[in-house]
Symmetry: C2
Subunit: 368 residues, 2 copies
């Protein structure tokens, strides 16, 4: 196939999304003063970061709400091919969207709420799928050390598409001791950037993958080079990075900044508000499913690395002397990690040396 797919043609148009995000952020910021009624205040630097942080006295309180996106549609399509529901996997993906964001600020996730909005009550009557979702949700909570506090399972005919489900999770955690707070104040030129491996597409770039599946003659059933089906590989569950971050904290290693690599791929690596250059000399291996997407959608490197995680699911910015130890601690949690780059003074940009790719600050307003 010859078609090149970009993000706009696959249904996600960030330029349309951004204005309301900006308006919402301005309005949200104005409500911070309400906390003074209760004798507390927000940590203002957390606005624009991946989780919201409030100073609760003994500790900081962090909270977040995140959604899976459209990945359930891939699971539904693959069930028709293999008979498996894959809802255990996408349950983990949904939890990962929340906890992997929450831990970027140094928080330990404590509890999650489930939000499962179906297109009709009949969705829940499919016991196999519903039980897989429940089982996967529970397992992901156990892996993340969080209590599943409750949730909503509304049937929203007319709002959610018939037969579909909108999966989201909210998460509450604490930063304790308060010295674990990671909002980037300590980030400095010379810091090493450690990238933690991804397991595949995770939950970002899925619209692109769905569009590609629609263009392939065998769709999701297309075998990849390693013999697995494209759709099956797409459904490998997102890595949960909680235990790695907890191990690093227990080892008293200071994390100067952390970024969860989701939408916009490696552009997220320059999410920090400062003007700094992030130079990468080493690339993690690209998971086969992402190689497959890049090849068949004919994505140039610049587009691939600015829309997919390309093998890096999470980034830790630490002192150079700590980087090797971080890699070891991650490995002990079953997560391969790579000392991949370095922070330098210079204009805000990401330089991927092995590919000759460079992204500048103007490529996207990441904090909107």
């Amino acid at each position: 196939m010859e078609t090149r797919i970009d993000y706009k043609s696959s249904g996600v148009d960030y330029s349309t999304l951004d204005p309301i995000k900006v308006a919402a952020q301005v309005a949200a910021k104005a409500t911070a003063a309400n906390l003074s009624i209760h004798g507390i205040g927000e940590v203002a630097a957390s606005r624009g970061e991946s989780a919201y942080v409030v100073d609760a006295g003994d500790f900081y309180l962090a909270s977040i709400t995140e959604c899976l996106g459209t990945k359930a549609l891939v699971a539904d399509a693959m069930r028709a091919i293999t008979g498996r529901t894959y809802y255990e996997n996408i349950a983990q993906d949904t939890i990962a969207m929340a906890v992997n964001d929450l831990i970027t600020v140094g928080a330990t996730p404590l509890s999650v709420h489930a939000y499962w909005a179906a297109g009709g009550g009949d969705w829940f009557a499919d016991a196999e799928r519903a039980n897989d979702l429940v089982r996967g949700w529970q397992a992901a909570c156990d892996k993340s050390g969080v209590a599943w506090g409750g949730g909503e399972t509304p049937a929203l005919a007319g709002v959610v598409s018939a037969g579909a489900i909108d999966l989201a999770a909210s998460c509450v955690g604490w930063v304790k001791p308060k010295s674990r707070l990671t909002l980037g104040e300590a980030l400095a030129p010379g810091d090493a950037i450690v990238l933690l491996e991804s397991s595949g597409i995770h939950s970002n770039g899925v619209s692109l993958a769905r569009k590609l599946a629609g263009l392939l003659p065998q769709g999701y059933a297309t075998p990849m080079g390693d013999g697995r089906l494209f759709g099956e590989a797409l459904l490998d569950p997102t890595v949960l990075y909680v235990s790695t971050l907890e191990a690093i904290a227990k080892a008293s290693i200071a994390v100067n900044y952390a970024a969860n690599i989701t939408g916009h791929g490696w552009l997220k690596l320059m999410r920090h508000p400062a003007s700094l250059t992030y130079r990468f000399h080493t690339l993690p291996p690209v998971p086969p499913v992402l190689q497959f997407i890049c090849q068949h959608a004919k994505l140039p490197d610049a587009e691939a690395y600015s829309s997919l995680n390309m093998g890096a699911g999470f980034a830790l910015y630490v002192s150079t002397g700590e980087a090797a130890r971080v890699v070891e601690l991650a490995a002990a949690q079953g997560v391969r990690a790579y000392v991949a780059g370095v922070v330098e003074s210079g204009p805000k940009r990401v330089i991927i040396e092995p590919l000759g790719v460079e992204f500048g600050a103007g490529d996207i307003n990441l904090r909107a």
Copy 2:
């Protein structure tokens, strides 16, 4: 029109919803042990109540996620009739779904996250509607004394219906001092039940109202007895009960139990796990829009009071000697309240004396 509408025919089938709720609750309960990793524990009695409570040391931490349901569809339909978007109103409804539930456990809401999932990025391009949503959300946060911490605004074509939006909110709060925890241990025969007025349908029973609108020749544009349009009255925003509960706490009045009256209407009044009888001698006035629904959908009293709030949005169970003071404190917050009933020993049931209506424990599994 002659058709009698019941809940099943209007698209909400609670008998289909319940099994997954039960499975999810069993699985969720099993994850409580994960909190011991962090040296804390849940308040087990909060499971099955309206908000999840964790003992965080100095205070209890309460959290919740709630959704608006299908009320945005009413706003969308009314915009075609009057040109107003009404998204300011349904923003308040969404916040109310979360904060009014959170406060039942004695919590003070501190922060909320927005979850606005649209059927496509074009939803957010309608600046008037988007700005009304943002403005209404901010105003409801201000009225509730909470900080708007952030949120998600995904475009989920294929999951959310084209042109529609799935609105939800998560909320975090604290119970401080811990003596404010309200999980019903103190509830006893002899307690008075104070009902706080609703403003209309709030966000429960909306599927029924939508079905009714479809059967009326003039639909949402049908004038009611008071001259207002049916659809406009449906969109009166939900009362926020936060300031009333805070005023009661500041007055050192112990709340023995609290219930937010949402789905299942007055059946929620026997939500408490004990076997007790709730006898009502006084009924709050029924808002015109609920009178209109009951009349045109030909709802018998038993059905009306077990599916709609019928003028009572929130219930406080307090010592008889405190009831009059609770009414005064609510009035000072602009909320009319009624000393409406009394708790008695006896089988679990709600007796609405003026109507000769009685509900038993078997009418629904409210805690599932």
